[in-house]
């Protein structure tokens, strides 16, 4: 893992955000955000509710129009006006908080729809890939099930696979466990953790602080529409520089105390592939 990060450091950023500004009417939600994401980097974005972190993620996929700045994916500008917007969006996978599978399609058709209709790939080939991924998360028996027959955690894992089958270069996760029952959170986070271990480039908005600490290469703390601080997870969680970040982290104190063992367990697990 250390080696991967070191390699990533010398690479060109895959995603560049320059002084991004987003307003809803008179309300400025994002105020000059700058961020460079390197290939293979896992960035976790934290911050109080309403700080703009979800909006930021949505801007990266042009689900929101922006009022200033620019977003570039490998040199190509992403905006609502981009001519190749649908092409660009195929390179950015996104999973949302609300379970957003298509209710009229079964699990397999949910996954196959975009690769076969948008990317015009061979159905059998995509199906093979989808089934292999479903098997990986233990849901191959659910391939013919409809979303309403799945639990929230299962739906989110299918949503992740649906995004993966488009072969995106960057994955965005917008509070994917926020609406889940506690016992289902783990199964979803484990999948994301595995993706991190495979070296995928990801931006994750989450309120799961133990998870953030374990998975992040870099933590970005957003408050009032600005990046207040960013850095290595251990540095950020143990020794936040700003008063606002300290305050924010204190709201998780209860969880952090219990997390002492939990964190090390998660951390050792995330390092497992290197050890093995």
């Amino acid at each position: 893992m250390e080696k991967r990060t070191a390699e990533a450091n010398i690479m060109e950023p895959i995603l560049t955000v320059n002084s991004l500004t987003k307003r809803f009417g008179d309300l400025t939600v994002l105020d000059g955000i700058n961020l460079k994401v390197r290939e293979g980097e896992v960035i976790v974005i934290v911050g109080p509710s309403g700080c703009g972190k979800s909006t930021f993620l949505r801007c990266l996929n042009a689900l929101e129009d922006i009022q200033g700045g620019e977003i570039r994916l490998r040199g190509e500008t992403i905006s609502r006006d981009s001519k190749d917007l649908t092409k660009l969006r195929q390179k950015i996978g996104m999973v949302f908080q609300s379970y957003e599978l298509f209710p009229h399609l079964n699990v397999l058709d949910n996954i196959l729809l975009a690769p076969t209709k948008v990317q015009k790939r061979d159905r059998e080939e995509v199906k093979k890939e989808a089934m292999a991924l479903l098997a990986r998360i233990g849901l191959e028996s659910k391939a013919e099930s409809f979303p309403r027959q799945l639990s929230g955690g299962q739906k989110q894992r299918v949503a992740i696979i649906r995004a993966l089958c488009m072969h995106p270069e960057v994955m965005l996760f917008d509070e994917v466990t926020a609406a889940l029952d506690p016992e289902m959170v783990r199964e979803v986070l484990d999948v994301i953790l595995e993706l991190a271990n495979q070296g995928r480039t990801m931006l994750i908005v989450t309120h799961e602080m133990q998870f953030a600490r374990a998975i992040a290469d870099r933590v970005v703390f957003i408050n009032e529409g600005r990046i207040w601080e960013e850095g290595k997870p251990d540095r950020f969680f143990d020794d936040p520089k700003t008063e606002r970040a300290k305050q924010f982290l204190q709201t998780f104190t209860f969880e952090r105390k219990r997390a002492e063992e939990g964190t090390s367990r998660l951390a050792s697990e995330s390092c497992a592939p290197d050890a093995g």
Partner: protein
């Protein structure tokens, strides 16, 4: 047992004539329903647009249909247009025009409701997967809209079939008109025919509409 006047049904070709009348009624309603569905879907999509012009026009259409009795519309189209525009529309044609005008507006309102009930994140998930607007409508939005729409539109279809009983007023010989003719013709020989014939008409409408209600209930259960 009182004389129910059912015997006239078996005189001559009376039963066949009644069924023929029902056929005319169903023909008018099915043709109108078909046109209403096509126009209604277009109208429903227009109704969801934020464009104020399309809003006002579609709203005006819907309100006209809701406020105006269908009978007035039938007279307007059948009698009114003949003198003013010199059109010579048949009764059937006028009926199809009025029923489609009415059906499209109500269907449009149902389509609008069904479209608006599709959550915004369905559009967003489709967009995030790189789908174009047309692909989103074709593969995501319309299939879900139709599932919500079919049970609702069944109700409209049965109402349209029932309302065809008005078209006898513009000279269309449908099931009710045939009934009147049979009753008139047999006024002396079987004075009780009114009961028997109208009872038969009641069952004919029931047979035409009941399967549609059953189908609606079945689809509603199946698609939840």
């Amino acid at each position: 047992m009182p004389d129910l006047g059912l015997n006239v049904l078996f005189k001559g070709k009376n039963l066949t004539r009644l069924l023929g009348g029902l056929g005319v009624a169903l023909q008018i309603s099915l043709l109108s329903v078909g046109i209403s569905i096509v126009l209604g879907i277009l109208l429903g999509v227009l109704m969801t647009w934020k464009n104020p012009v399309s809003r006002v026009l579609t709203r005006l259409w819907l309100e006209t249909v809701r406020i105006m009795p269908q009978m007035v519309l039938l007279f307007l189209v059948y009698f009114g247009t003949t003198r003013v525009f010199g059109w010579n529309l048949s009764g059937e044609m006028s009926a199809v025009i009025v029923f489609s005008f009415w059906g499209a507006a109500e269907m449009g309102d149902l389509v609008r409701g069904a479209l608006l009930s599709i959550p915004a994140h369905q559009y967003e998930s489709a967009a995030a997967l790189g789908m174009s607007g047309a692909q989103t409508y074709r593969y995501i939005i319309l299939p879900q809209t139709v599932r919500r729409l079919i049970p609702l539109s069944m109700n409209l279809i049965t109402r349209m079939i029932k309302t065809t009983s008005l078209v006898l007023m513009i000279g269309v010989v449908e099931v009710l008109k045939v009934s009147q003719q049979i009753i008139e013709a047999n006024r002396m020989s079987s004075p009780n025919a009114a009961f028997g014939v109208y009872l038969t008409v009641f069952f004919l409408y029931f047979i035409a509409c009941w399967p549609i209600s059953v189908l609606a209930g079945y689809l509603e259960k199946r698609w939840k």
